[in-house]
Point group: C2
Chain length 240, copies 2
C-alpha cells in the first residue's frame, strides 16, 4: 500500500534526515530549540518511530542535534567549551587545553584575491571582509591570523566592531550561519617580517601555518582563515 513512484530512491531514513536537515538550514528549528518528540515527528512524516530515530541519531552523530533522555532532542548550540574545542586543535604540551584571548586588529572590505575566491568558491570581482587579529595565551602572542568572509553572507559586519573572541557564535547569532565542518591544511613556514612583528619573534622562526576553510550547514564555504602559530610549548593535536 506504499505510494512510491516507479524507482526505489533513497532509504526512507535518509529522506527523513534530509527533511529534518532542511528545517535546520531554513532556521525553522534554531539553535537551542526543543524538537517535537520522536512519536510526533513519526506521525507528522508518516513513518515509524524507528525510522525517525535513525535519522535523529545520524544528525546527532554530526553534532547538529543533542539528545537528552527524559528531556527531548535539541538543536546544537555553539557555546559550550567542548564544542569550541572540536574546531580548535592547539593544545599545551602539558595537555592542558586553553583557549587564547583575541586582540582585535582591523576589519576592512576589499575585492577578493584569487586565493580567497578559490577557497570560498566566489566569482571574480566579489567583495570580502578581511579581519586581522592576534591571539594571546597568558598575555603572550601565539597566533596571528587573517580571516576572510564573503560580504554577501555577512552584511553589515563592520557595525559589530570590535568582534568577539568566539566568532562562530557570532556567525550563528547574527548571520544565521552554523559552521558544521572545517578542513585545515598545515605547513611549516618561516616567519616573515610582518609575522615576526606581530608575534614578537625573530624573522625566520618556524611557524605552523594553518589554512582553514569552514563550511556551513548547506555545504558552502563561509570562512577562510590563515593562521600562523608559534609552537614552542604548544602543539596541534590530530586524532585519527
Amino acid at each position: 500500500m506504499t505510494a512510491d513512484t516507479l524507482p526505489t530512491l533513497k532509504p526512507l531514513y535518509q529522506q527523513v534526515k534530509e527533511k529534518l536537515l532542511g528545517r535546520l538550514i531554513d532556521r525553522t528549528w534554531q539553535p537551542g530549540m526543543l524538537l517535537p518528540s520522536e512519536q510526533q515527528l513519526a506521525n507528522e512524516l508518516g513513518v515509524s518511530q524507528g525510522t525517525v530515530r535513525k535519522a535523529l541519531d545520524a544528525l546527532t552523530a554530526e553534532h547538529l542535534l543533542v539528545r537528552a533522555q527524559g528531556r527531548g532532542t535539541f538543536v546544537a548550540e555553539f557555546e559550550d567549551a567542548k564544542i569550541l574545542f572540536r574546531f580548535f586543535r592547539l593544545t599545551g604540551d602539558d595537555d592542558n587545553r586553553r583557549f587564547p584571548e583575541s586582540e582585535f586588529g582591523s576589519l576592512r572590505q576589499q575585492k577578493a584575491t584569487s586565493t580567497a575566491r578559490d577557497r570560498l568558491g566566489l566569482p571574480a570581482g566579489s567583495a570580502v571582509w578581511v579581519i586581522d587579529r592576534t591571539r594571546r595565551l597568558k598575555g603572550r602572542p601565539i597566533i596571528t591570523e587573517t580571516i576572510t568572509l564573503p560580504v554577501a553572507r555577512f552584511p553589515g559586519l563592520d557595525a559589530l566592531k570590535p568582534l568577539p573572541n568566539n566568532v562562530y557564535a557570532l556567525y550563528a547569532s547574527r548571520f544565521a550561519l552554523t559552521i558544521c565542518r572545517v578542513t585545515e591544511r598545515l605547513k611549516a613556514i618561516a616567519a616573515s617580517q610582518d609575522d615576526a612583528a606581530e608575534l614578537g619573534c625573530a624573522v625566520g622562526t618556524p611557524l605552523l601555518h594553518i589554512d582553514r576553510v569552514a563550511y556551513s550547514l548547506d555545504g558552502t564555504a563561509v570562512e577562510w582563515r590563515d593562521s600562523r602559530c608559534l609552537t614552542d610549548g604548544l602543539h596541534y593535536l590530530s586524532e585519527l
Copy 2:
C-alpha cells in the same frame, strides 16, 4: 526470565560488541575472515538479530569490520590504499595524494629513553627497537623519521630486515597487532644538522614535526614515531 545479576549493567548491544571485539583481539577472527551471519551470532549469543546488528554497526563505524550486502561481514584488512591514507595525512598542494617510498636506514635495539617510555607506557629499563628511515616522493627526500617499538611486542623484528614500506601491514601479519587508532602532535621546528643532512635542506629550514603514537586493538600504545617533514609543495590535511 533474564539471568541478570542485581544491577543493570551495560546495554546488551555494548556487551555483545565487547564480546565480538574480544574475538578480534584474541585473533579468533583474523583479518579478511568472514564472520558468521547476523542470525547465527544472534542465536549463539541468545539475543535478537537487531541487537547483534547494532554491535556490528558500531564495530564497522570504527573500521574494524567491513560489511557487504549479499556477501557477509568481514574482518577489516590493512592493505587497501584507502585504509593506508586514513593514517597518512600528507597531501600534495595540488590535492593529489601520493604515498612516498621508504628508504630503509637502520634498525637497532637499545634501552628506551624516558620520552619513549612515556609515549609507549613502558617501565624503566625496557628494551626498544629504533628504526631510522627516509621517505621520498619522486626521488626527493621529504620525510626523515624515527620509529620506536617495544621489543616485547615485536620479538625477532631484526630478522625481517629490510623493513617494507607499509609497516602497519607487517605489524598485522607478523606480530598479530592491528593498529586502530593514532594520535599525532604537530609542531613547526627548525631543521637540525642531522635533519638537514637527511633531507638535503639548509639548517634552520622550517619542518613540520609529527610526534605520533599508534594504538592497537587492545588499547595499548604500540608504536612511537617521530617524523620531520619538508612541506613545500605538500601539506598535512586535517578534517574536523
